[in-house]
Subunit: 539 residues, 2 copies
């Protein structure tokens, strides 16, 4: 099987992304993870450009990478000095990286207008830089910046830059679509032209996603002879990002018959993708191909029925191949099949046409029409199913409540107080609490009133709180904006699990109350279920 | 110039996305916006599948679209009934849409295993469904589900499905890569094969993004003869999404010489993309090609210097062509130029180094650190600048307020009352109002107290209200969720203009108060400015 070298530049070009800011410690963790995934090269940074990258390379000398080689990035030497005296080249040697990648100009106007030197002088910079580094590098790559744009404007000059690099000792020439504006058929044609003119050269591709074609361009380059693909995890990178290695690796291995990672490592892809997002403290892009949370998620009723019979009907690969998994969602697009499937998960064996299924379907459609959204609030859904099927207990009833939010003098912090009157079995509990804002105050008062009866609520934490205004419900009464219907999602958790509940009302406090009540009921319900299962097991 | 028909299915296939849930009102707003963008077709939904879509089509009959045609989606009739008695087909006729798109099977195993009918019977379903609808539709499209997968398994049968549709009156055949697993070279080869076997057919492409190749596949189809491209705004859709029309339209028009939108409309692309995300209350994907906030953003030092000299060095197109703009991430110095630029718009000629500019810079950085976000709330920003520069009047002061939200008996609607004490010049106004929820009550009380002094507030309306929890600020105190910091954006308007203001607090009521106060102050401030300009003109 043909092998394609995967050259990861998340730690260098990826950090040019607006949102990706990594500490040295972050970079070390990601490098270790990329090595475990099994990429061929990890480009760690540009040691000549900033002290953080320099420190990263120094730290990396203590690490033993298993499959990957560490690469350091730098530019051809400055026109004013010689290669031997160029700080940026010397920093590369200092970095201790066994692979060095030198970028240089290949687009004539960049040479004359940006560097402000002659075309001939630029060839000297390439030649001298590579010749100087050659003895210090195990592998030496030339990164031809703006190659495709340069080739389109002045093919001969662009080729002579590559030829110079090759003659000066470059092991591989990386053709860069720096601005990301090239189309796949142009990549294919230019790759062919380069191979005709420099048949002995080994070529790589470095694409950017400005036309949403970086993956396609990388694959086109491989089909036309590239042996190395550069990119980043999750496609991080400046502007629209670099080519997304997650998609490229999966496509090459699963669709095109190439090998990129050590045998059996492809299933680490989803975990690696999520890990990098996590370390960078970035929200994962749900719809990301192959590794995203939604990549194998089904919502529509028609599809769900088919997917349950045979996953291949709406899944192009088995999600497990890349370490991902199938998810089925609830929504108003759902039919009976979704309900049956979910009910089964909750332990109910129901048949199509069962009157309870029809009741659930109607209840669900009505509620979704009001703005309830269960695909993101499965705990509320599970409670609803159990209520309709008569299995959910009433742990408490909130008889009355009052929230007061006051500012008594200008500029003071608001004072918020909640009172609640609860009935728990035959007992009435009337209590009050203050809080940070009205929802927090109600949360505090509810727990205060209930923990006496249900001490296990002490383990429960509220983790996230989301509010969405349902614009469709804005009233046309001149005060539409602040009278709009809102949907509140509350995520809660205990030591073992997390769950999300939903509430809807034009009043944010009322919507929050619903979600809070569901959240508490869910915790109590699940704990009871566990006790029951335990008891049955012990009989 | 060759024209490609853009068929937008955001409102139908897009809503299969895990995250996209649209009310009927949302769908109407998006349809109007898509029409303004100038797409050829707007697929509004599947009227036979749910009441929400049915209502949408009913409402749309009151709208006059300018360039777009409205399309309704449905399936071939059920095998058990005849076309004339199929509820789903009848709903299409009822929908009033002039364009009908019927999807049907073309992959043999889907026919035998999913529909559980013979291959021949499936051809009858296609034939009868299309023949029945033909007289009722201005245009009739056949959507060949799973076409590429089907063709690869049984080319003859897949082609005979297309041929049947064509013979039964289909104006165009849409080849679907339903599972998104097809590569561009396969699309190209299969398009060529179909055109050879059905030379008279007009073809469309409907791609999904499971390999991160939906845009490339759509472009490959166009190069190989497709005249219609189906997709969604921002690529919303199930799993990894549909083909992203934003990128497709821009690539076709700017890179490949096709025409997709009416002359001059391409520059509406970014605004339309953001609008759809906004209505759906989804975070825009920053790195989205062409229309994303980061698409023309520069961070790296080397690039920024070059881009300032000549934007084409690191931008593949002029951002203005698609209605986007260049952003340079703010360093301290760039921050100053930005402030000077904005201040100039508001009528202040300031110099770099002016102590007021430094004060503004500090104030702005502090506030952005707290979570204020002025890019979406320029009215608050303008007030801030005017306040620091001593030009904004104090129209009123809110001395104290109290909001009460009560439920006295279980199940009753909450009763909400706000009291406010205002100082207007030398007068004290103390008043109260009820409202639909706490923010609405405060809004009503503020207006009630102020309209006596400022009757022009009667013209002002609140148009939208958005809440975002700033997850970064969730506290680790066991009640993080409901004590999180929230940002409120309020959009207001009068007959002539619209403006947006912002407030931030851990208390949603306090955050809303800030945004409401800014909104009212802004209205009064702008009206005063107008009077002043008028007065000066009359001297």
């Amino acid at each position: 099987m043909n092998t394609i070298q995967i050259y990861d530049t998340t730690l260098r070009d990826g950090t040019q992304s607006e949102e990706l800011n990594l500490s040295t410690e972050d970079k070390l963790r990601i490098a270790t993870k990329l090595d475990q995934l099994g990429v061929a090269y990890i480009e760690g940074g540009w040691p000549g450009s900033n002290p953080k990258d320099k420190r990263f390379f120094a730290e990396m000398q203590q690490y033993q990478l298993s499959t990957a080689r560490l690469a350091a990035f730098g530019s051809t030497h400055a026109a004013k000095v010689s290669a031997e005296n160029d700080a940026n080249l010397l920093a590369l040697i200092d970095s201790g990286a066994s692979v060095m990648t030198i970028f240089g100009k290949t687009w004539d106007i960049h040479v004359t207008d940006a560097l402000k030197i002659t075309l001939e002088r630029n060839l000297e910079l390439i030649r001298d830089s590579l010749a100087f580094l050659r003895p210090h590098a195990k592998e030496l790559f030339y990164d031809a910046e703006h190659f495709f744009d340069g080739y389109k404007k002045n093919a001969d000059y662009a080729i002579s830059c590559l030829g110079t690099a090759l003659d000066s000792g470059a092991d591989l020439l990386v053709l860069c679509d720096t601005n990301g504006g090239t189309l796949p058929e142009e990549v294919a044609a230019i790759m062919d032209a380069v191979r005709t003119r420099l048949p002995e050269a080994r070529l790589g591709i470095h694409a950017h996603n400005d036309c949403e074609l970086a993956v396609a361009n990388s694959l086109a380059a491989v089909r036309h002879g590239a042996v190395q693909v550069q990119g980043t995890m999750n496609g991080y990178g400046e502007r629209c990002g670099n080519a997304n290695l997650c998609s490229i690796i999966a496509n090459l291995e699963l669709k095109m018959g190439y090998s990129c990672l050590p045998e059996g490592h492809l299933e680490r892809l989803t975990d690696t993708s999520a890990f990098v997002a996590e370390v960078a403290n970035l929200r994962c892009f749900k719809r990301q191909p192959y590794t995203g949370q939604s990549a194998f998620t089904h919502k529509g009723g028609v599809h769900v029925a088919a997917v349950r019979r045979n996953p291949r009907t709406y899944e192009h690969i088995e999600p497990e191949l890349v370490g991902n998994k199938q998810r089925i969602l609830l929504s108003d697009l759902a039919g009976q099949s979704n309900i049956l499937f979910k009910a089964k998960q909750y332990g109910f064996e129901l048949d199509k046409g069962d009157p309870f299924v029809l009741e659930l379907l109607t209840e669900l459609k009505n509620r979704e029409d009001q703005g309830y959204e269960y695909s993101a609030a499965e705990a509320s859904y599970e409670l609803l199913v159990n209520r309709v099927l008569g299995r959910a207990r009433n742990y408490f009833r909130l008889i009355s409540f009052r929230i007061m939010d006051s500012v008594f003098t200008e500029g003071m912090e608001p004072f918020t107080e909640a009172t609640v009157m609860l009935r728990v079995g035959g007992m009435i509990e009337h209590t009050a609490a203050t809080g940070k804002g009205p929802v927090n105050a109600m949360d505090c008062a509810l727990r205060k009133g209930l923990e006496r009866f249900y001490p296990n609520l002490g383990e429960m934490r509220l983790l996230d709180f989301k509010v969405r205004v349902l614009t469709g419900s804005v009233r046309e009464d001149g005060h539409g904006g602040t009278a709009a219907v809102v949907r509140v999602l509350i995520e809660s958790g205990d030591q073992k699990s997390r769950w999300t509940t939903v509430g809807v009302s034009y009043n944010i406090i009322e919507a929050s109350r619903q979600a809070l009540e569901d959240s508490i009921n869910y915790k109590l319900f699940k704990d009871d279920q566990k006790k029951l299962t335990q008891a049955i097991r012990e009989i």
